[in-house]
């Protein structure tokens, strides 16, 4: 039975259902409970924006507050995963990964290969991405390309309440380390979400809107910017296919290449900064594998090569907008 719930509620529900189903699922992170050690309420926060709120009441010590020691507790999640648990570890903002990245890319991601195939590290790292909160340069980044680059990691960038639930359940059941990137601006987005548990497989892109003139590939929040642009463009008779890869690693090449075969044109929208990002990654892929199909250069709509500015006017300019996508699409469609 589907009801309308928010992206945030869908995450909470996925965690809840998996914790109920599997005792080895545990949660850890800063204030994922909140109130530990204090004389006030326990379960005070449920994470900085309240995503895990209520789980402590149900699962007690299986959800654990941590000190502000990301390398310590992310590493502990990794170590617990190799020892038979399925930890879901919250890295509050993806921006903080700089203090704990080693435990992710040198440890979790490499164990299986370095150890000759013998290790299993079923850890999920949930983390917030994205600009739009006036949270400035150190709380607004989209660093998923950095994780996508790392062999051994799987990377998920869910764009809707429905997807976030199914993908998170899949992530928890997956036996490889997964970086799960939640866009903070989407937390309040509502959508139809089945009550029962379900999974969405990794590496299967979602054709969010069908169209014939051009393929727009967009991730996370950018899916909605792309859809907005597509709606406007439709009025001018430009028919956009919008594809959400959902996971950047593994990556569904086929769905995209099929679409390009039909449209011959592509725009890629990525909230990450422009160098070595998903836009370049996907563009290079298309350029190589669909060269003969391409009728126009692939445009990339991304954040600029700058830190995220605090000021709202600047931040709004920083984020790829429907208008910028529209312009890129028009340019691509008009290319002859």
């Amino acid at each position: 039975m589907a009801r309308r719930i928010t992206y945030m509620q869908a995450i909470n529900e996925a965690l809840d259902q998996e914790m109920a189903r599997d005792e080895s699922v545990i949660i850890m992170g800063e204030d994922v409970v909140g109130g530990s050690g204090s004389d006030g309420e326990m379960d005070a926060w449920g994470g900085v924006l309240g995503v895990t709120k209520g789980l402590y009441g149900k699962y007690g010590d299986r959800i654990m507050d941590t000190p502000i020691s990301e390398a310590g507790f992310v590493g502990a999640a990794v170590g617990a995963a190799t020892a038979g648990m399925r930890p879901v570890c919250e890295l509050m903002f993806i921006d903080f990964v700089g203090v704990c990245f080693d435990q992710i890319y040198n440890q979790a991601a490499k164990f299986r290969y370095m150890f000759g195939g013998k290790a299993e590290t079923p850890v999920v790292i949930r983390t917030m991405i994205g600009a739009g909160f006036r949270a400035a340069a150190q709380h607004s980044q989209c660093l998923y390309p950095m994780f996508t680059a790392v062999p051994g990691l799987k990377v998920v960038v869910p764009s809707s309440p429905y997807d976030v639930k199914g993908l998170l359940i899949q992530a928890i059941r997956d036996n490889d380390p997964v970086i799960f990137c939640e866009h903070k601006v989407l937390y309040t987005m509502e959508g139809d979400v089945p009550e029962e548990s379900y999974t969405i497989p990794f590496g299967e892109a979602n054709v969010v809107r069908e169209g014939d003139d051009i393929t727009i590939i967009a991730l996370g929040r950018m899916v909605h910017q792309a859809l907005a642009a597509a709606t406007t463009l439709a009025k001018d008779g430009i028919s956009c296919e919008v594809i959400d890869p959902r996971t950047t690693s593994p990556f569904d090449e086929d769905t995209i290449l099929e679409s390009i075969e039909n449209t011959g044109r592509a725009v890629i929208v990525d909230e990450a900064t422009p160098r070595c990002n998903m836009a370049t990654d996907i563009s290079a892929l298309i350029g190589r594998k669909a060269f003969g199909d391409l009728k126009a250069p692939i445009e990339m709509v991304t954040a600029p090569h700058t830190p995220v500015p605090f000021n709202g006017t600047l931040e709004d300019l920083y984020i790829p907008s429907p208008a910028a996508i529209e312009a890129a699409v028009r340019q691509t469609v008009e290319y002859a």
Binding site: E30, D31, G34, G35, S36, G37, S38, D39, G40, E41, A44, W45, V48, D65, T66, P67, I68, S69, A71, G72, D95, F96, G98, V99, F133, R134, A135, A136, A137, Q138, H139, P304, H305, T306, P307, P309, F310, N311, G312, T313, L314, L317, Y318
Partner: protein, 324 residues
């Protein structure tokens, strides 16, 4: 022995503490009205800490701060108008609106920056201290960290490095009992943060952070040690914050009335005012005069911020590099 503070010094201290308090109380109000965007962490309640330290800093001493940085900035001499404008995200702000509350910096004033990364500051302060040492200026660096930041690996590494390199740096831990909603009694594995000093070969001291004089004296010793080339020190200021972790925090992890009680019973400014008027030759009128000045200052700052222009599209792509 503690240096005896002149009346002028005491009035300076009062002015700084009161400026911080009024600044923060006002930001709280303006935030609630919707004028201020983003994450804002207020320093009210902790004024004696920044002030007792700041008063003893030379302009070329360097201060590395954290997310709760307004008080440190004011105590280091950063202009209040520019700060307020920055918090509003205006072009006239200290950082031209690009930084915001969590990133106020003023390198000319020796303010190395607030920091959005918990534990970001301690290594940076070591670097500033190293520069002072290399240049032989007799300058020092001070870094303010919370109880939460005391558990970050960067903080520990910085303390070790400071002793190994004998750096003129002072680590001030402002233990306000909470890191977000987590109690320091949970997150800090030893009794007092000061217990960690021995593991890093430096003196460590617990200080009543509500007491300007205690802060002043402890820092005097630490600063003298640093300037003499004898290395770092650790000070743990026990104190309290009067607002939530950030604006919007409902503070349900705190016992009800904790804040009310704190404001009434252990307000560092009330305590300071009582003490200096009682026994240091400062008059209530002098303090009142300062209060009035500050009221104007803060009103002006808000008006300035509100009336200032925003940065525009031409500002988006500048200031990334020095040489493009």
């Amino acid at each position: 022995m503690a240096e005896v503070l002149s009346v002028e010094d005491l009035l300076d201290a009062y002015r700084t503490m009161k400026t911080i308090r009024e600044f923060e109380d006002r930001v709280h109000v303006e935030f609630a009205k919707g004028g201020i965007p983003g994450f804002v962490h207020l320093y009210a309640g902790e004024e004696a800490s920044a002030t007792g330290v700041g008063l003893q800093l030379r302009n070329d001493d360097q201060l590395a701060s954290n997310h709760r940085g307004h008080g440190h900035c004011i105590a280091k001499g950063v202009e209040v108008k520019g700060m307020m404008a920055e918090i509003y995200g205006k072009k006239t702000g200290t950082c031209h609106g690009k930084g915001g509350s969590m990133h106020i910096a003023d390198l000319d004033a020796g303010m190395m920056g607030a920091n959005g990364i918990v534990g970001g500051g301690p290594p940076l302060a070591c670097g500033a201290a190293l520069a002072a040492k290399m240049k032989g200026t007799g300058g020092l660096a001070v870094v303010f960290c919370g109880d939460g930041a005391s558990n970050q690996g960067t903080t520990f590494e910085a303390m070790n490095l400071a002793t190994v390199w004998k750096l003129p740096v002072v680590f001030v831990f402002e233990n306000n009992g909470y890191a977000e909603a987590t109690d320091a009694r949970f997150s800090v594995s030893c009794k007092d943060i000061a217990d960690r000093a021995i593991g890093f070969g430096m003196p460590g001291q617990i200080v009543d952070g509500h007491d300007f004089f205690a802060v002043h004296d402890a820092f005097e010793t630490a600063a003298a040690r640093a300037r003499a080339g004898d290395g770092p020190s650790l000070l743990e200021h026990k104190l309290d914050r009067f607002f939530g972790h950030f604006e919007g925090d409902n503070q349900n992890y705190r016992p009800k009335d904790e804040v009310k009680r704190l404001r009434e019973d252990i307000c560092c400014i009330k305590r300071f005012a009582a003490e200096v008027t009682n026994s240091h030759g400062v008059s209530a009128e002098q303090l009142n005069e300062i209060d009035e000045e500050i009221a104007v200052l803060i009103d002006d700052a808000v008006a300035f911020a509100e009336n200032s222009p925003e940065p525009g599209p031409e500002d988006l792509m500048t200031d990334v590099y020095i040489n493009y």
